[in-house]
């Protein structure tokens, strides 16, 4: 292929008065504004662009748009490098740097090309069959290294991405005349209309051909208020007409400014009606070595000639099975290219008048392509027994014109059906999809005038809420469904990106694959960055041939978003770094920070794990803090504790229904532990319920469980217990929580001025009092997760820091210390208190954690009760919560370690759920779930962890203060 620039008027899209410098594989080249990277490479005579995925065959530019399967490059350098960009859609800019993918040491000399020599050993599914013994994982690293085409930079992306939302009455997807016509009509009928076009210009093929109708439509679009967004690709449609689109703000790989640039914007657009007018994609022909650089789609060569002024070759052969090839041949000839011949696979062609000066060979195909890295010649062979002799044609460009496939992706993603149009060998939309109507070539309407008038009618109808007009499908001419050439040497590629050949499809059929979805997975056809835009239809037609079925019977694979590759950065948007996910911070975060808190994430909260002193680790600090609480007193910021107010005349009844415990018989001021189940009886949360008044309850949930508890309450109220009058108000953010625990807790509080009615002598364990301190309202709960005398002081969030400061100022007097969540975990494990989500999982029933008595005592109904009556729920062999200690008294039992009599692999008998070194006992303690656990008290068990075995014993919990004397003060 010898490419060159054609003289004007060819090249309507490029500005020849300016030059842009760029670099490809280290070679300095130049192009013009308006060029794509592909057109500029072609204009510079670059034929070999990259290497193929599996066989490392040489590949060049194959198309002129989004469907490009082979012209992939890595764009940019350093952290800004973006892999696998299609050169056909990369707009050229000054300083662009690109390199070939999937080759080493160079695209010209690629060691991976050895694969092509041993291609016979690498048929479809070869690695499913070959790399099974002795273990797939032995081969996996090497195979993964070989896969993947381009390489990501491996460095943090310096650029930024954002999201934006939009609404429209009518959203038109596409930039061609049909799309413009629909948008103009919709807007002129009064609809708020938004037009998305993936390219930088509007008008499609007619625009670069200089058609005046385009300018007129663009002018009308502006006057009628059509909002136009170019460089914006609609890549997916989701529920309720949510269309997602990528707006390109800065070219990928562009030299990043300090701190990066805002590179892409993800649009989320809600539209009442969507018109899909994304045109059609050309299909290639099947012939041996149809992947050589110098073989490309016919329409692409036409566009390169007219839009970019690039002659992709000097001597052109067109391989065809469709009428459209004749128009292209004629068009190229008019542009000044030498069209040597048009080789038509069909028995007869009666439209030769469209290309009167082109030599036409019918009933013929290309049996051989000469040249290794570029096209040098081709050999035409007859496809019937009576045909002429093979004929060698000197050429440097072979165009492939296998008909068209409407871009039905949005229609299909929206749930629209397709039908096979035999005359033109294509799938077209079968009516509209919910909320999505097709127009133009995307609807299968290839006649220009018909497409424009249909689109206009459609736009107007949807704007006014009228019935959509029917689509007059047709105009694409006659096309023969893809057929391969049997009995000729050389691979005939169906999917150029994934190196899937006709033989691979045949092999799949031979191995009894019938579903087109299975064909896709087995052969990999239709995967990768192009998602089979040039290969899918040919593959399924071939599948039909091999299995004796019509294309309509074979069907298509599911069209899934995205329509074209999108960057991970686009999907992440602002969710990077500290914005990766919303984290909750304590009202007194800075105060803790100033006191040396070591923060960790617990659930979605950032909270102090401990307050290490110089020389202390997290673990040693937690040990010290737990010890201090046991001996004196400690101060904990418990603000994350979930808090709900439950109000209403039926609040008591409702809480009885929600919790395993009975809450209706609580008097105001009393509190009770509650276990929350789902309808399957699974433990999902726990907490303390306190009655504040006849119709008002205070509910403490776990820190991580408040949202799901509130949601569960609302669901039951709104969906099941609709006759119950209850209001659930989350107040976790409103109320902070300062917890003081330890034998000297009350002394500490009393010294800080707390009301004497809160003293342990007048306020028993599990009671709640409303109080004030210097005018600040408090809700004080006597409860304890540490097992010591404990006060959980709920205080308005904006007063938390003041209360902490007030108490901390007196800490020394009581040998008090701040303690973090790690110390609390140690102490609750010593007490054998469960931590939901740590000691329980998605299978745990209340019976498994020792709540049989509570269940038996409660006569009233509650959520999950019925599930607990199933025999399986009372199976004594279930995993049950137990306390564990190592037999040697010093080896900690690792959390997650499995309990089993024999070394793995074997059936597990349970696992360790919580494990700490007890500062109180000076020995490790643990909790675990063990089959028949409650019946195995005193039994020796074996704990397995990463090949190590630890002998342990099932013991009775709690480890500390078994009678609860400390708890009750």
């Amino acid at each position: 292929m010898t490419a060159s620039r054609l003289p004007a008027p060819a090249g309507t899209r490029v500005d020849r008065s300016q030059r842009l410098s760029f670099e490809f594989n280290g070679r300095a080249l130049s192009g013009h504004p308006g060029d794509t990277l592909a057109s500029a490479l072609l204009a510079n005579g670059v034929q070999l662009v990259g290497r193929s995925f599996k066989l490392h065959r040489p590949r060049g530019i194959f198309s002129c748009g989004i469907e490009e399967p082979t012209g992939l490059v890595d764009l940019g350098q350093g952290a800004a490098r973006t892999p696998n960009m299609r050169a056909t859609v990369v707009e050229l800019y000054d300083g662009l740097v690109a390199s070939s993918v999937n080759c080493w040491p160079s695209v010209e000399f690629d060691l991976g090309a050895i694969n092509n020599r041993i291609a016979a050993l690498l048929p479809a599914g070869f690695y499913y069959k070959t790399f099974k013994w002795p273990h797939w994982h032995l081969f996996e690293p090497a195979i993964r290294r070989m896969a993947g085409l381009g390489r990501a930079s491996g460095k943090p992306d310096p650029d930024r991405y954002e999201e934006a939302a939009a609404r429209a009455d009518v959203l038109v997807v596409g930039g061609g005349v049909a799309a413009l016509s629909a948008a103009v009509s919709a807007a002129e009928a009064g609809a708020d209309t938004l037009l998305l076009a993936s390219g930088g210009t509007l008008g499609g093929a007619l625009a670069w051909r200089g058609d005046t109708q385009v300018a007129e439509l663009i002018d009308r679009a502006q006057r009628s208020g059509v909002r136009q967004m170019t460089r914006t690709l609609a890549f997916g449609i989701y529920d309720h007409n949510l269309v997602c689109a990528r707006e390109t703000l800065q070219p990928a790989g562009a030299h990043a400014a300090e701190g990066g640039v805002l590179r892409e914007r993800l649009w989320k657009i809600r539209a009442r009606a969507v018109i899909a007018a994304a045109g059609a994609l050309e299909r290639p022909m099947l012939f041996p070595n149809n992947d050589r650089p110098g073989v490309m789609l016919a329409g692409a060569a036409d566009k390169y000639a007219h839009a970019f002024g690039v002659a992709c070759g000097q001597r052109v052969v067109v391989a065809a099975n469709s009428d459209s090839a004749y128009r292209v041949a004629s068009s190229l000839r008019a542009a000044g290219l030498n069209v040597v011949a048009l080789v038509d696979r069909r028995p007869q062609a009666d439209i030769g008048a469209e290309a009167p000066h082109v030599r036409t060979l019918v009933n013929a195909g290309i049996g051989k392509v000469g040249g290794a890295r570029a096209v040098r010649s081709c050999t035409v062979i007859p496809t019937d027994m009576d045909g002429a002799r093979p004929e060698r044609l000197e050429c440097d460009l072979i165009l492939s014109a296998g008909g068209h496939a409407p871009a039905v992706h949005l229609h299909s993603q929206a749930g629209g059906k397709l039908r096979w149009l035999d005359e033109s060998a294509m799938f077209v939309p079968d009516g509209a999809a919910p909320g999505v109507w097709s127009a133009g070539a995307g609807a299968g309407i290839f006649d220009r005038d018909t497409a424009v008038s249909h689109a206009a009618e459609l736009g107007r109808a949807l704007a006014l809420g009228h019935a959509a007009p029917p689509a007059a499908v047709g105009g694409a001419g006659r096309t023969l469904a893809a057929t391969h050439l049997p009995g000729v040497a050389g691979k005939q590629f169906v999917d150029l990106q994934n190196d899937v050949s006709v033989g691979d499809v045949g092999l799949a059929a031979q191995e009894n694959y019938r579903s087109v979805e299975h064909l896709k997975r087995y052969t990999t056809t239709g995967m990768g960055t192009d998602q089979g835009k040039t290969s899918n239809i040919n593959a399924l037609v071939l599948m039909g041939e091999f299995t004796g079925r019509e294309p309509a019977e074979v069907g298509t694979t599911k069209f899934r978003p995205p329509f074209a590759p999108v960057t991970l950065g686009l999907l992440a948007g602002r969710r990077v770094g500290s914005l990766y996910r919303p984290l909750k911070t304590l009202p007194a975060h800075a105060w803790h920070e100033a006191r040396g808190a070591l923060f960790e994430q617990f659930g979605n909260w950032v909270r102090p794990a401990a307050y290490p002193k110089p020389g202390e680790t997290l673990e040693s600090a937690a040990q010290r803090e737990a010890g201090t609480v046991r001996k004196a007193a400690g101060l904990l910021d418990g603000s994350p504790l979930g808090k709900l107010e439950i109000y209403g005349p039926d609040a008591a009844q409702f809480l009885d229904l929600m919790y395993v415990g009975t809450m209706s018989n609580l008097n105001p001021g009393q509190a009770r532990y509650g276990l929350l189940l789902n309808e399957n009886g699974i433990v999902v949360d726990d907490g303390i319920v306190a009655r504040l008044g006849p119709e008002l309850y205070w509910v403490n949930t776990t820190s991580a469980g408040v949202e799901r508890t509130a949601a569960a309450f609302e669901e039951w109220l709104q969906c099941e217990y609709t006759g119950i009058s209850v209001l659930v108000t989350p107040v976790t953010s409103r109320w902070g929580n300062v917890t003081v625990a330890g034998p000297r807790a009350w002394d500490w509080l009393a010294s800080a001025g707390f009301d004497s009615t809160l003293a342990p002598t007048s306020m028993p364990h599990m009671t709640m009092r409303e109080s004030t301190l210097d005018g600040v309202a408090l809700r004080v709960l006597r409860a304890s997760f540490s097992g010591e005398l404990g006060y959980e002081i709920n205080v308005p969030a904006d007063s938390v820091q003041g209360l902490l400061e007030r108490l901390w100022a007196r800490a020394e007097d009581f040998a008090g210390a701040l303690y973090g969540i790690e110390a609390l975990e140690i102490m609750r494990t010593e007490k054998g208190f469960i931590h939901i989500g740590t000691d329980t999982d998605g299978t745990t029933l209340p019976l498994d954690i020792g709540f049989a008595r509570n269940l038996d005592r409660k006569a009233a109904n509650f959520v999950g009760r019925r599930s607990l009556l199933r025999p399986a729920a009372r199976d004594p062999n279930r995993f049950q919560l137990v306390a564990l200690i190592p037999v040697d008294g010093r080896t900690p039992l690792p959390v997650g370690a499995q309990i089993a009599a024999a070394a793995p692999p074997t059936l597990t008998e349970g696992h360790v759920t919580s494990s700490y070194w007890s500062p109180e006992l000076g020995a490790p303690v643990a909790l675990g779930m063990l089959a028949r656990g409650t019946q195995r008290l005193g039994e020796k068990i074996r704990v397995h962890h990463l090949g190590k075995v630890i002998d342990a014993e099932v013991v009775k919990a709690p480890f500390v203060d078994p009678k609860g004397d400390r708890l009750h003060g």
Binding site: A165, R574, S799
Partner: protein, 182 residues
Amino acid sequence: MDDAQGKTTAIEIDGLSVSTDRDIRIASLRYFDHAGRFAAAVREAVGRALPEPLRAFQVGSAAQGSYVILAWRSPTETLLLSGDRAAFDELERQLAAAPDGCMVNQTGGIAILRVRGEKAGDLLLRLGAATAIPSLGEARSGRLAELQVLTACLAPREFLLLVERVHANHLLEWIGATAADL
């Protein structure tokens, strides 16, 4: 920068100002019936009936500090904002005895961000769904910056963003990053 009315300006760029209102008292008005006895008590105390669905309004003058904002949040909840602490406390006292509903003090639990300026609309479009952005006189709940936010529009090009206090920093940081690219 703090001003006399308790506002801290967090972000200030051409065409956009984002400030936090620290001194506003806020409460959830919870009720079973939008036209019931609790609603009647609110009407008597505030001088206007509870807002209709998706509506918000202000009673009184912000300049004088004695104003109340009511913003519809759900069929059983309206958020009440007041710049006057004494008036708020008096309201709390009046409604404490009202049947069929309750006033839950949320002061300090819900943060208030005031977004104003010509670019305010553009900013909100970049934080979440278009359906979460209210027109004048509206209050809409929706997901902004991955958070549940109630957004009310009481004046042209001015929005109040009501978000749980624990998430206010996240929202502000997201707004800051977005505003830098406006």
